[in-house]
């Protein structure tokens, strides 16, 4: 029987549910689970620092509201963005953080930082998902 060279085996994959779930709950956690501590640490540091800066600037958390299309997009989208920070969002709500929406550029930046922290965590979740399914090394 001739020696036929074998095709390279695909990278081992694992179930992505716990990875993505942990990534959402603890920023960078999915990368730690996948044994990528460097990437996970950098992503965690960025998301946590951005969220903490948002809190220190007294940004407001969005509550879902409906009405005209713009209100629905802004408030429901903002709520999803806040929620994407996972445990950071849940802890701050459970510990009683309830900043009303106030005028002023610092508060405004704070609100955006809080949402952006969640959106950066979504990017980290997508990255962890792609590593878990073997699409990325």
């Amino acid at each position: 029987m001739p020696n036929v060279p074998k095709a390279p085996e695909p990278a081992p994959t694992r179930s992505w549910y716990p990875v993505v779930g942990l990534s959402w709950l603890i920023p960078g956690g999915g990368h730690f689970l996948l044994k990528r501590p460097g990437r996970g640490g950098l992503l965690a540091a960025c998301v946590v620092l951005m969220f903490l800066l948002g809190l220190m600037m007294r940004g407001a958390m969005f509550q879902p509201q409906t009405g005209d299309i713009l209100t629905t997009i802004i408030y429901c989208g903002g709520f999803v963005g806040d929620l994407a920070s996972g445990l950071l969002y849940l802890l701050s709500i459970w510990l009683g953080y309830a900043q009303p929406d106030m005028a002023g550029h610092v508060h405004d930046y704070g609100t955006k930082f809080l949402v952006a922290a969640g959106l950066l965590n979504v990017l980290a979740m997508v990255d962890a998902y792609e590593i878990a399914i073997g699409k990325k090394d």
Binding site: R39, L42, L43, C46, V47, L49, M50, L53, L55, M56, M57, R58, H105, V106, Y109, K112, F113, A116, L120, L123, A124, V126, D127, D137
Partner: protein, 61 residues
């Protein structure tokens, strides 16, 4: 939790910094590529920030 007061410029640069690090980390394959891409993103953010700042200043009259 201490309260923080930042200028527009400081807040925007911090935003650019964290976003660039995340974009660099998740998009490229090697560390050198990640560093280059992160720095390039940060440069674009700051260039857009300064450009838009001047545009608003000049447009304000």
């Amino acid at each position: 939790m201490p309260k923080m007061n930042l200028t527009h410029f400081e807040a925007s640069v911090l935003f650019a910094l964290f976003s660039s690090v995340v974009l660099g980390v998740i998009t490229k394959r090697t560390d050198a590529e990640r560093l280059r891409y992160g720095l390039r993103c940060f440069g674009y953010f700051v260039a857009a920030l300064i450009g838009l700042g001047w545009l608003m200043y000049l447009g304000h009259g």
